[in-house]
């Protein structure tokens, strides 16, 4: 099993570094262009949550992203150094009139993640949260 690790300070601009890495990892696994976009978006959401909700944008706190390339799947582990979270809601969220009127424009991240990857899982403790995303390899994927 091969592993690529990317570690960033909790500053939003560095999410782009992780996203660009996800792009190349997805291509290396031979994922279709659409699936690479799904992967990038899911990873982007996970990293932004780790930066915002986990590490509260504290630049000294790090977000660690591990891309674990298994023979049957890609696993992405996104870990922050935050205080943890009790429960995470992956249910569908859509834009709604009353939320717009109330100025509530957020809350789509977890739903998008769960809808875009094959499988995801949260492990949280007082010393941080790890979100694991899984994308299973398909027969039409081609190794480089």
């Amino acid at each position: 099993m091969q592993q690529v690790l990317v570690n960033i300070p909790s500053v939003p601009i560095f999410e782009r570094v992780v996203r660009a890495s996800a792009d190349e990892v997805g291509r290396a696994l031979g994922f279709s262009a659409e699936r690479v976009e799904d992967l990038k978006l899911a990873v982007s959401e996970a990293v932004n949550n780790a930066i915002d909700h986990g590490n509260k944008r504290h630049p000294g706190k790090l977000v660690e992203v591990v891309f674990a390339l298994h023979s049957d799947k890609l696993e992405v582990h996104v870990t922050d150094e935050g205080g943890g979270v009790e429960t995470v809601d992956f249910s569908r969220k859509v834009v709604e009139d009353q939320n717009l009127d109330a100025g509530m424009h957020r809350g789509f991240g977890m739903y998008l993640i769960s809808a875009l990857v094959d499988d995801c899982e949260v492990n949280s403790s007082q010393s941080g949260t790890t979100l694991t995303l899984r994308l299973y390899r398909r027969s039409q994927d081609h190794d480089e």
Partner: protein
């Protein structure tokens, strides 16, 4: 001040139409505040179109910024349209029902107003 800040949206106006060309390729947490800053009531016209031709990435932080345009348009009683949205982002807009608030429009539909 970055170029991204200065030029995140290039505005084009004709008749009742404003086309807001998004100039950054990444509509994300970094570009969100510069994008939101343009979403004022005065920026809206009866037909306001966001042009995504240069946009290759949008995440939920970006969607949250785009929703400011929906709110501004709604306040003015105008409708907002989206142009040149990639198939991937069409899919994402449908997932969160953004497409209901920002229906697609095509370049040729605007020709009549020019």
């Amino acid at each position: 001040m970055t170029n991204e800040m200065n030029e995140v949206i290039r505005r084009e106006e004709f008749g009742d139409v404003a086309v807001l060309h998004i100039m950054t390729n990444s509509v994300d947490a970094v570009s969100a505040s510069a994008i939101e800053a343009v979403a004022t009531a005065t920026a809206m016209r009866p037909i306001t179109v966001l042009d995504f031709a240069n946009v290759s990435f949008i995440n939920s932080a970006g969607i949250s910024a785009l929703l400011k345009f929906v709110v501004s348009a709604k306040k003015s009683g105008y409708t907002l349209y989206a142009m040149n949205v990639t198939p991937h982002h069409q899919k994402v807009f449908k997932m969160v029902e953004m497409s209901r608030y920002m229906p697609p429009i095509e370049e040729r539909d605007l020709a009549a107003y020019r």
